[in-house]
């Protein structure tokens, strides 16, 4: 089956700005699973074909590729409205946030990109706390890693940053407001135009 895999966050935003078609070219994969031996996969990715033997092993996945063994921790972070799934994947100290999309979702995202609205990144509170300061006004352009607001939780002030570059489309909270874990804080729309 046809799938797309792309990186989320700062690195992805930087790559997209540079090439303008990070979504279009790389990341396309043709995934085939052996019906009789379901741990065997053949995956075409970026012009290379990989034969992979993958099994769940305790907390992680073991991938065997051409005799080389890789233990990969793969945590699903959530499912997007358009059907993609988000993962935090790590192996040997390298960690990336990856999103896997089916062709329909991928096409929808491409269309969004073409329309200039891009993907949006909604940042939520990771724990209950209080918003002590909002650093950026809605409508302004933010860069990946830029602090948007300060959340006080467990008596510590933590700067909450934009995970990707774009336009701060909306701030859902105001200074002094108490929030619960999971509450949306703000949304950044990639590739948008500042108001």
């Amino acid at each position: 089956m046809e799938l797309y895999v792309r990186q989320q966050g700062a690195a992805a935003a930087a790559a997209a700005t540079e090439s303008g078609e990070a979504l279009g070219q790389d990341g396309r994969a043709e995934v085939q699973r052996d019906l009789e031996h379901p741990q065997r996969w053949q995956i075409e990715l970026d012009g290379r074909t990989w034969v992979v033997d993958a099994v769940a092993s305790g907390a992680s996945r073991s991938l065997l590729i051409d005799g080389h063994q890789y233990e990969v921790l793969c945590q699903e972070e959530g499912r997007e409205e358009h059907g993609g799934s988000r993962f935090v994947v790590s192996c040997r100290g390298l960690e990336e946030r990856l999103e896997v999309l089916d062709p329909l979702a991928h096409e929808a995202l491409l269309a969004e990109d073409a329309a200039g609205v891009g993907g949006s990144q909604r940042v939520t509170a990771y724990m209950p706390g209080k918003v002590v300061k909002v650093l950026v006004e809605a409508g302004a352009r933010v860069e990946a890693g830029q602090g948007v607001l300060v959340l006080e939780a467990m008596k510590m002030e933590n700067e909450i940053q934009a995970e990707s570059s774009g336009v701060l489309a909306e701030i859902f909270v105001s200074e002094g407001q108490a929030v619960q874990g999971g509450d949306p804080l703000f949304e950044v729309v990639a590739g948008g135009e500042p108001e």
Partner: protein, 539 residues
């Protein structure tokens, strides 16, 4: 002593046990949670002493409860309504017939009022007396006591300086660089570093005005500023019969904002002569306050080899396992033996460190996002095993890391024949550990244990903060361990794994023909299986 009287009151003063015990301890109530409760429970079981724990509502399903013989709910999640309820814990100890309370660290462990309440009610607190605790609890009082006992302290005086002239005289006497500190201070407020005499006037004005506005008391005092010191502490053990021994040092210089992150024993820079001198000073410090039980005397060690008393921790330390691994002792067992009135074994004084031990504190924090707390459910857990590895944890797969308590999940400790082997072993153990579902400080350790300065033993208490600030320790853009020759790039492996995980969690077949149908038949089957596997968390 009040202790013998207490045991007598309770009618438990039976025949002395081996080692000269004057009272029996048959049931211990642990007034703590998490990894340290588990740590104490292990020793109690080995000593065949009945164990009881208190727990807050959300801690019901944690190993601290499931390892215990008896467990009693003490209140809701907030510490002030559970683990800090000293009176309720004492009532419970009486009700269930516990002879002693082990406070662990944190919570009530250094609360002299709680220690006094235990003494009044005839329940043994496994720790020093309330008066030793109180004497060491006050910075100014303990400094005065240590000077009187001949223990070196950072040169300076705690007397408030009335004016600039007095400050100038005091600074000249102590010698630059100096630190101006607020008498009522804490938290860095009202503190000024002065490197030379010509900077004193403006620093004095700034420090007094900041002290005044922060504490309502503008007085400041002068202390020598020790540049780039190490934090080296001595483990001591003292009995109720006036015997005290030093069990060697722990190097705890790797700190983030004054919180220890990595600890080791012995220190890379402490030779036998320095170890003996620091040990003697620590024993003097303990004897000066009539100390009994396990305690830790913290020192600043200057680059020139001079050392200065910092404070004494009147309890078991988080990092006690590194001392256990290089001495072969069970410090919790010795705490209990001393609390039973036993005498220290004279052979303890002759113990030399064997090999090298290193501990890392694993926190539920994201080290590359400003150490933001990362509460949540631990989806999967695998702790490293094999030669020379010890895990002190208080979590299971499925445990919830709550925002109500310290975010330390536990400690990973390794032992090696020497420091180099211990470092290699820690790298190996870090490659095995898996804690899924939350962020932890493990990725930071992977960098620390490959850092040139750390591996060479070049440490000081500001090193970690500097390397974090400069970006030297940051989220890796390259794999920490490169793939071997002929292997796939890790970036490609990550993508392949994500694709496979996606397909498996969709419950679809990868073949073009069968995909859609399989998805309709068993939409979430694979996902459920994968999650079940993860929750079982084979270790």
């Amino acid at each position: 002593m009040t202790d013998s009287a207490a045991a007598g009151d309770r009618g438990r003063q039976g025949a002395a046990e081996g080692g000269g015990a004057t009272r029996q301890i048959r049931k211990v109530l642990i007034a703590n949670r998490g990894e340290i409760a588990v740590r104490v429970l292990r020793t109690l079981r080995e000593m065949e002493i009945r164990s009881a724990v208190v727990f807050s509502q959300p801690d019901r399903a944690t190993p601290a409860v499931t390892f215990a013989d008896e467990a009693y709910e003490i209140g809701p999640a907030p510490s002030s309504k559970s683990y800090l309820r000293g009176e309720a814990i004492l009532d419970l100890a009486e009700r269930i017939g516990a002879d002693a309370i082990h406070p662990g660290y944190g919570f009530l462990s250094e609360n002299a009022a709680f220690a006094a309440a235990c003494e009044e009610r005839g329940v043994r607190l496994i720790g020093p007396s309330s008066s030793s605790m109180a004497a060491m609890g006050s910075k100014i009082e303990s400094r005065r006591l240590m000077m009187a006992a001949g223990v070196p302290v950072v040169p300076g005086g705690t007397d408030p300086l009335p004016d600039l002239d007095a400050a100038r005289a005091a600074a000249d006497e102590v010698g630059y660089p100096i630190m101006l500190k607020a008498s009522a201070g804490g938290g860095g407020k009202g503190m000024r570093l002065v490197r030379a005499a010509d900077q004193l006037e403006s620093a004095f004005r700034a420090a007094t005005s900041e002290a005044g506005s922060s504490f309502g008391d503008s007085s400041v005092y002068v202390e020598r500023f020790v540049e780039n010191p190490r934090h080296v502490e001595i483990q001591v053990l003292a009995d109720e019969h006036g015997n005290a021994v030093s069990l060697g040092e722990r190097e705890c210089s790797l700190q983030r904002r004054h919180q220890k992150v990595v600890e080791e024993a012995p220190s890379a820079v402490v030779d036998p002569d320095l170890r003996r001198r620091m040990g003697e000073a620590a024993v003097q410090a303990a004897l000066a306050v009539g100390y009994s039980n396990a305690g830790t005397v913290e020192f600043l060690l200057a680059p020139d080899g001079a050392f200065y008393f910092l404070e004494m921790n009147t309890r078991l330390q988080v990092e006690h396992p590194v001392t256990e691994l290089v001495t072969g002792l069970d410090l919790v067992a010795w705490q209990i033996r001393v609390a039973r009135g036993e005498r220290l074994d004279p052979s303890l004084a002759r113990i030399e460190p064997n090999g090298h031990a290193i501990e890392v504190r694993v926190y539920a924090e994201d080290p590359f996002k400003g150490f933001a707390p990362s509460p949540g459910v631990i989806q999967a857990l695998r702790l490293p095993e094999g030669p020379g590895v010890r895990n002190d944890f208080g979590i299971d797969a499925g445990s919830e890391v709550s925002i109500h308590y310290d975010p330390m999940l536990g400690k990973l400790i390794v032992w090696g024949e020497d420091r180099d082997q211990a470092i290699r072993r820690m790298r190996r153990a870090l490659a095995e550990i898996r804690i899924g579902g939350i962020r932890t400080t493990v990725p930071l350790f992977e960098q620390i244990f490959r850092d040139e300065d750390f591996c060479a033993g070049r440490l000081d208490i500001g090193m970690l903060d500097r390397k974090l600030a400069s970006g030297e320790f940051a989220a890796p853009e390259r794999p920490v361990v490169e793939a071997g020759e002929g292997a796939a790039p890790i970036e490609a492996v990550l993508r392949l794994a994500a694709l496979i995980a996606h397909v498996e969690s969709q419950g679809q077949q990868g073949s073009a023909s069968g995909g859609a149908r399989a998805a309709e038949r068993a939409p979430r089957r694979w996902g459920q299986l994968a999650r079940l596997d993860a929750l079982r968390g084979r270790r």
